[in-house]
């Protein structure tokens, strides 16, 4: 016979204002097996928890029902309290009389009646509860970081620093990410390469870090502490152990007309290439889409000039399988495609560029070696019109958009990088007129607003509140920018020779497939969702999966690095454990009832069910062999799909057995 205690929480006025908590406590005293029932102002407080513990000891309780908020909120709190008083934590049940009762009802009478029913339901369930013990699983002390940009590198470096092995998987031929393409960084204006490339070198030299560049994660299985991942090393057609990165092949390759993605197509590269001088790993890669040898079998120049003998036209993709305890998504971002914004004439004029393209046009390693040249004059740089004299920046292109073309969110980084661009141009070319059209200037952040004001006050950048309506190429090749000045209420026409679009950013196109593999959730914009927007910002709701950088939401470099380190701290916390305690509320198959039909195996999303042949003694003392299901408790997540699918009722969920649920239904219907 159970001895049950019932504790009814006021939650201040959250519950007590709508539910007569004293009446609920009083009514519960009449329920079978209830030996104690009381109401209390805050059950989750220290006083409330002590009350539970004292009552358990004093009244020798075997079961506890707390009528309070959602179990998502405090189930763990009350279980822990009960365990301290010496009873099994799974003998605690919560009746949710806040979210499912007081918050959604107005009438005290009916809300109280409902609270009584909910409490009675929990009592009915706890009568059938059995003590449960959580299983343990070991932790593989190795982390996987998907994405080798500044976010992934920082996370990997921090994890390695703590002494754990970590693998970076990067789909590009080099690590470094978007930051490699950026010229200077705000608000300090230090050169991006100068602060980034040492970190890239640190990654490659760290003994604990293994870089899989030009690789992709293709399959992930397992669960927190025990993931296995398949990594596809794409064929580079170059033996990375032999290639010295001398670059002679990239100079001799006769295929010269390949758009150079590192410079965003502003110039060309060869079919065999090293993305940029500081690439890590610094090895060549053959672009199979353009290589004449791979396409027609006739060429082989790179092979002939390579003194290291590293070229291997027969190289195949390679699949590597590795085990991990934790996985970090650091898949980053891309500027959106702006072909839907044709009012800005991006597809009609070369001199309309995105901000990232401008970074390349201003970078010493860019197509114009750092001299700002209009893209339409890149091959005639001596022309006096090659240098832009009037530049118009358009902010919020695709951000904060209320139509279908763009993104509803603010991309967050554009106000600052536009101020940076405007300032750098005025600094280097003081005879240039620079206009910035904005809806709002958003510059929160340490030294950020000061930075923007410097652009306006010291550098004389013309900031105009208003939007550009149309950019029209003129017959002379210049651009007519038509815009509105909202403050003076005037229509403006500016004869510009370069227009820069502050393009919205969006998660990388691979993010969705990575999320699917990791079973991590995403929002409607394909940003990874965090486990809690405020309190667990670097964890995915999927245990063992962590988030680093822009894949979780738009961020600048300082914020990305902070989040990357925070994600690393969470990974280190996980990998530092030798064993993980699992969830005991998992499925269990009654072998005597199982008929081996495989229905449960088919519906299990985690692959937790296996079948084996087992010997059973029959009533007539003979032995028969039957095929029966068995659940791997470490893999089972307790979703309950198998218990519904099982036709013979052999499959049951511990803590949520069919019997318990029917008892709850009976209690509600009584």
């Amino acid at each position: 016979m159970h001895r049950i205690g019932v504790f009814v929480c006021h939650c201040g006025t959250n519950i007590a204002a709508t539910v007569d908590v004293k009446a609920v406590a009083e009514a519960m005293k009449q329920e079978p097996s209830v030996v104690f029932s009381v109401d209390y102002q805050y059950m989750c407080s220290e006083g409330g928890q002590t009350l539970i513990q004292d009552t358990i000891k004093e009244h020798k309780l075997t079961g506890v029902v707390v009528c309070s908020c959602s179990p998502r909120m405090h189930e763990a709190t009350f279980r822990k309290a009960a365990a301290k008083a010496g009873i099994n934590p799974y003998m605690v049940e919560i009746a949710n009389i806040r979210e499912q009762c007081s918050w959604i009802h107005k009438d005290i009478m009916s809300a109280t009646d409902k609270a009584i029913i909910l409490a009675r339901t929990a009592i009915a369930k706890v009568q059938l509860n059995a003590p449960l013990t959580a299983g343990e699983s070991p932790v593989t002390k190795r982390a996987l970081v998907i994405g080798g940009g500044i976010a992934g590198m920082q996370t990997a470096l921090d994890i390695a620093e703590a002494g754990f092995e970590v693998d970076i998987v990067e789909k590009q031929p080099t690590i470094g990410g978007k930051m490699t393409q950026i010229d200077k960084t705000f608000p300090t204006l230090d050169c991006a390469s100068c602060i980034l490339t040492p970190k890239m070198v640190d990654c490659s030299q760290n003994e604990k870090i293994h870089i899989y560049a030009y690789s992709e994660v293709v399959e992930v299985n397992g669960f927190v502490g025990n993931f296995t991942a398949k990594i596809k090393k794409k064929a580079r057609y170059v033996d990375t152990t032999k290639c010295t990165g001398c670059g002679i092949c990239t100079e001799k390759c006769p295929q010269k007309k390949v758009p150079n993605e590192f410079n965003l197509g502003l110039n060309n590269r060869r079919a065999i290439y090293i993305p940029f001088a500081q690439a890590v790993p610094k090895v060549a890669t053959i672009d199979a889409d353009y290589c004449t040898m791979l396409k027609t079998g006739k060429c082989g120049v790179c092979s002939k000039v390579c003194t290291a003998g590293a070229i291997d036209y027969k190289q195949q993709d390679e699949i590597i399988e590795e085990r991990y305890g934790a996985i970090v998504a650091a898949t980053g971002y891309n500027p959106i495609k702006i072909d839907k914004y044709d009012e800005f004439a991006y597809s009609q004029s070369k001199d309309v560029v995105t901000s990232l393209e401008l970074e390349r046009l201003m970078n010493a390693a860019g197509p114009s070696n750092g001299t700002l040249i209009r893209p339409s004059y890149l091959d005639k740089q001596d022309d006096h019109r090659a240098h832009p004299k009037t530049i118009v920046f358009v902010q919020c292109v695709g951000s904060r958009s209320c139509d279908d073309c763009g993104k509803s969110y603010c991309s967050k980084i554009c106000c600052m990088y536009t101020a940076k661009h405007a300032m750098l141009i005025r600094e280097k070319y003081p005879d240039t007129d620079v206009y910035v059209f904005y809806i709002d200037v958003r510059t929160p952040g340490k030294l950020f607003d000061e930075f923007y004001r410097r652009a306006v006050e010291q550098y004389g950048v013309h900031y105009i509140k208003g939007m550009v309506g149309k950019v029209s190429p003129r017959p002379d090749g210049n651009l007519d920018v038509q815009a509105s000045d909202l403050i003076s209420n005037e229509q403006l026409h500016i004869n510009a020779d370069l227009v820069v679009l502050a393009t919205a950013i969006e998660p990388d196109q691979t993010a969705r497939s990575v999320a699917t593999m990791l079973r991590a959730s995403m929002d409607t914009n394909d940003f990874f969702t965090e486990a809690h927007a405020k309190l667990r910002p670097v964890e995915s709701p999927t245990a063992g999966v962590f988030l680093s950088g822009v894949c979780q939401g738009p961020k600048d470099i300082p914020e990305t690095v902070s989040q990357a380190s925070a994600a690393a701290a969470k990974v280190i916390g996980l990998l530092a454990k030798d064993k993980l305690t699992g969830n005991p509320c998992v499925a269990h198959s009654d072998e005597l009832m199982c008929n081996g039909c495989s229905a449960c195996e088919k519906v299990c999303p985690y692959g937790a069910i296996t079948y084996s042949d087992k010997e059973f003694r029959q009533p007539d003392r003979t032995v028969a062999i039957r095929r029966v299901a068995a659940v791997n408790e470490a893999v089972c997540q307790g979703c309950g799909a198998c218990t519904v699918a099982c036709p013979s009722g052999a499959m049951d969920l511990k803590g949520f057995s069919n019997k318990q649920i029917m008892a709850e239904v009976d209690a509600i219907c009584k």
Binding site: D342, E343, Q348, D404, K470, S472, R474, P475, D480
Partner: protein
């Protein structure tokens, strides 16, 4: 192919050429245009007020008539095309407007936006095909540099018109290529010419039309083509002296069916 045809009132008066050359060309292309019986003026302007029903009814009648004949509905005038497509979209997507329009009209069968409205240009592109049209051209306008003038109504709102990209369209340029001429792309081709204010604010209308014509002339267009009678009325007075034609006139000429 037989289509219901909604000419609209301007095509019976000021814009007779737009209508006449379309009919001649359609005949040459094997398309039959069946003019809707007893059609009424569409109003020329789509009413933006949510509770304005009366001015939408004539469009609904035309749309329902096409449905009764089981045909798609072809329009030619930019304004009619705009109003008919927008009203049709209302009947399809706005339950309130649809119910009230049906209550007013008491048609034999209720109308819920079933008819497909297509512009004559869309028919050329999607039914005939510009490549096939090119083959039917007997008198190509070789060497002519033509600026397509879309104006404000033909393509917008883009989601409802579903005709082409409103900011960087190409349907008229493809048409110009099909009749053997050379399209000139100029920035003002999809801007309003100011025609709507040509009676009340002559100065504004003149400023806008000259901006359009200057833009076309700046990119060396010899002439402009339009599908809109109001644009024609306003644009033809431009100071750059760029001649303006209805696209159907050039089509008829290219097909060799233009009477002199």
């Amino acid at each position: 192919m037989v289509y219901s045809y909604y000419p609209g009132c301007t095509l019976k008066n000021k814009a007779k050429d737009l209508d006449r050359y379309a009919r001649l060309s359609a005949q040459a292309l094997g398309i039959t245009l069946e003019e809707i019986e007893n059609w009424q003026c569409c109003g020329g302007v789509y009413p933006m007020a949510k509770d304005e029903i009366a001015t939408k009814l004539s469009s609904v009648r035309a749309l329902a008539d096409a449905k009764a004949h089981g045909r798609d509905l072809i329009t030619l005038c930019s304004a009619c095309h705009n109003v008919l497509k927008q009203v049709n979209n209302d009947m399809l997507t706005d339950e309130d407007i649809c119910t009230r329009a049906n209550n007013y009209l008491k048609l034999d069968e209720e109308y819920h936006g079933e008819t497909k409205v297509i512009h004559f240009l869309e028919m050329l592109r999607d039914v005939i095909g510009f490549d096939a049209l090119k083959e039917k051209v007997t008198n190509p306008l070789t060497g002519k540099k033509i600026g397509a003038y879309y104006g404000c109504l033909l393509l917008r709102p883009g989601k409802v018109m579903q005709m082409d990209d409103p900011e960087n369209p190409k349907i008229m340029e493809d048409f110009i290529r099909a009749i053997g001429a050379e399209p000139v792309i100029y920035p003002m081709r999809n801007e309003c010419c100011g025609g709507y204010v040509s009676l009340e604010d002559k100065e504004a209308a003149a400023k806008r039309r000259n901006a359009v014509a200057d833009s076309a002339a700046g990119f060396e267009a010899e002439l402009m083509v339009t599908a809109c009678p109001l644009c024609m009325y306003n644009l033809k007075k431009n100071d750059s002296n760029v001649p303006v034609y209805y696209f159907t006139e050039l089509l008829a000429e290219a097909l060799g069916v233009k009477e002199n």
